[in-house]
């Protein structure tokens, strides 16, 4: 079997490497930390090493390697709460506690000592490309949510128009569209205004009823 098509799509790994990722290495300068530093430089990353971690993470950083210390109570840094770049944890052992801790702070990959050069490139590419995929999905979800909300608004506005003007659905939409064009606004904006106006109107018209209704319970007391 041949796999030319799949392979010919281009190499994501080469593409990521050619961008020379900027990496912060928040690890002590022990043998494992130095192995990490050397291999990251070998594969073309621009690396800065700090221990303890910096207080602030600069915007241009693409990836963080973060040592998870076994005896620390809870890993907490301010930058963890400010949408940090993807994180790969580095720890000297694995057990459920440290895995849960890594999940809690949202790491994209875990390295366990002893650190060797092999395996680092795959961890880095996975973290960066999964983060990239994740961001793309988040953008898509936000877009879909707002699209769906707008859709509901237009539907509601159409129903109001159909009821008030005794017209069908297509005519109602056409009316909204024309308004939007004349006022140079989005259909959703016109729909939102209309719903707002309709609510005001019904409040005003039913004002007395509401007041009388409110009196009922007081009289009951």
């Amino acid at each position: 079997m041949n796999y030319p098509e799949r392979r010919r799509a281009g190499s994501i790994t080469r593409s990521i490497l050619s961008k020379q990722p900027r990496v912060l290495l928040f690890c002590p300068q022990d043998a494992d930390g130095l192995t990490l530093l050397n291999q990251l430089q070998r594969i073309g990353c621009i690396v800065e090493m700090h221990w303890p971690p910096l207080q602030e993470v600069p915007n241009e950083v693409d990836l963080i390697f973060l040592a998870l210390q076994p005896d620390e109570e809870e890993t907490d840094y301010d930058w963890l709460h400010r949408n940090p770049p993807p994180i790969i944890s580095v720890s000297s052992f694995e057990n459920p506690t440290i895995i849960d801790e890594a999940l809690r702070i949202g790491v994209m990959g875990m390295l366990t000592a002893p650190i060797r050069a092999a395996g680092l490139l795959s961890a880095l590419i996975m973290a960066l490309s999964h983060r990239w995929q994740h961001e793309k999905n988040t953008t898509r979800i936000t877009r879909l949510e707002s699209k769906f909300a707008n859709f509901r608004i237009v539907e509601e506005a159409k129903t109001i128009l159909m009821r008030m003007q005794k017209i069908d659905e297509n005519e109602a939409y056409e009316l909204l569209r024309l308004q939007a064009m004349t006022q140079r606004l989005q259909v959703e904006d016109i729909a939102r205004d209309l719903i707002h106006a309709d609510k005001l109107m019904s409040k005003t018209l039913s004002g007395k009823t509401i007041k009388t209704k409110k009196k009922v319970p007081t009289e009951m007391q």
Binding site: S15, K19, N38, G44
Partner: protein, 386 residues
């Protein structure tokens, strides 16, 4: 350690199987160097003794034989491997026992191990030069044909990225065949190549299948001046099998060719051909990578004052030596060698006429991090790869 103890070196090169011709070049390059070292009194009076197993061109046997060398024979330093698959299976073993492996063969790059010394070319020392040469002379419509394993896959991706700098570049075909493929299977691929009529053919076939492609080209009566075959591994050893007429006119990029016109290369070849190994292998890029690697090792033993593989490694890193291709050096940050890129065209006497020679040593860049991929649209690449 007694000062007179022999130094035992493991050798894992196939004498049988589909890549035995190429691996024989490596084996006899190493054995020839060992004879030379011992002939001059060994390493400070200590004899170098080879311990050899035949992995039979079988990836699984490399691992088994390496474990045997380390665990049963207590060997610290091993020379071995031709295919990248063989190196990939040996890497975790050599790291696990913290020994030292010399890998004397050009390969696709994108690798580093603390425990490996790579004496063949990295991609920035052969394919970069080849892509530039072929596209500027013949065009960038390339047909890629290779053996079905990791080296051709990765190398073709690098070639694809490199030709994307050229106008009108395209991959008009890409086919892989087994290293055990028959002549008919390669003929069938060649029929497709002929139909697609590329500007040049990029051949990453390995071992016994290499001659089949050149023979198919020759039988078809095509002209290497209009549609040449370009390779990183077709060497004097392969030409020895297919014959000078068949290879004539095609191109290979390599730091070493027998035809390098230097006093040291000529005298080394003379000594080899007159040695007890002279009839057993054809000197080529692998022979030389193995040969100078062994001399580097002897030099390291002289300086280390210990048999500990970590001490030996420290002495090899950053060290240099006069090799047949020129003065080579092992890069201490990535363990690959600084070498001299050259492009040769096979001639009618079965040798290569060197038609491009920078005359300059290039430092190894196995991950191609210093390469300027200026023409690549990286984001577009990610988008299309979804």
């Amino acid at each position: 350690m007694k000062n007179t103890d022999p130094i035992r070196v493991g050798l894992l090169f196939s004498k049988t199987g589909v890549t035995s011709n190429q691996e024989s070049s490596q084996l006899y390059g190493a054995l020839f160097a060992i004879d030379e070292i011992n002939g001059l009194g060994g390493v400070q009076g200590r004899e170098l003794v080879p311990v050899y197993y035949d992995p039979q061109s079988d990836t699984a046997r490399y691992k088994l034989a390496l474990e045997r060398l380390i665990l049963e024979d207590n060997i610290n330093v091993i020379f071995g491997g031709y295919t990248s698959s063989s190196r990939k299976v040996m890497l975790p073993v050599i790291e696990k026992y913290n020994k030292l492996l010399f890998y004397p063969q050009q390969y696709e790059g994108f690798e580093f191990s603390e425990n490996i010394i790579y004496t063949g070319a990295a991609p920035n020392q052969n394919i970069v030069q080849l892509a530039k040469f072929m596209t500027s002379r013949f065009g960038a419509r390339v047909y890629m044909v290779g053996s079905r394993y990791v080296y051709p896959y990765e190398t073709n991706r690098t070639m694809q990225s490199l030709i994307s700098a050229a106008p009108d570049n395209s991959i008009v075909g890409e086919r892989y065949v087994s290293m055990h493929a028959s002549e008919e299977a390669v003929d069938e691929v060649f029929a497709d190549i002929k139909k697609k009529n590329p500007d040049f053919i990029f051949c990453t076939l390995i071992g016994n299948t290499v001659p089949y492609l050149y023979e198919a080209f020759y039988k078809a009566g095509l002209d290497p001046r209009t549609m040449p075959i370009a390779s990183l591994n077709t060497s004097e050893a392969e030409i020895g099998i297919m014959g000078a007429d068949v290879a004539c006119g095609h191109y290979t990029s390599s730091p070493y060719f027998q035809s390098i016109d230097s006093p040291l290369n000529r005298s080394t070849l003379d000594r080899f051909f007159n040695s007890r190994h002279g009839e057993r292998a054809i000197p080529n890029m692998n022979w030389e990578a193995s040969y100078f690697g062994m001399h580097l090792l002897a030099k390291a033993y002289r300086h280390a004052g210990s048999d500990n593989p970590q001490d030996i490694r420290q002495c090899i890193l950053g060290s240099d030596i006069e090799a047949p291709q020129g003065r080579v050096r092992i890069d201490s940050s990535n363990h690959h060698a600084s070498l001299y890129p050259r492009i040769g065209q096979a001639n009618s006497s079965g040798q290569f006429t060197i038609i491009e020679d920078l005359g300059k040593r290039i430092d190894p860049d196995p991950y191609m991090v210093r390469h300027d991929w200026s023409s690549d649209d990286e984001l577009a690449l990610i988008e299309t790869a979804e």
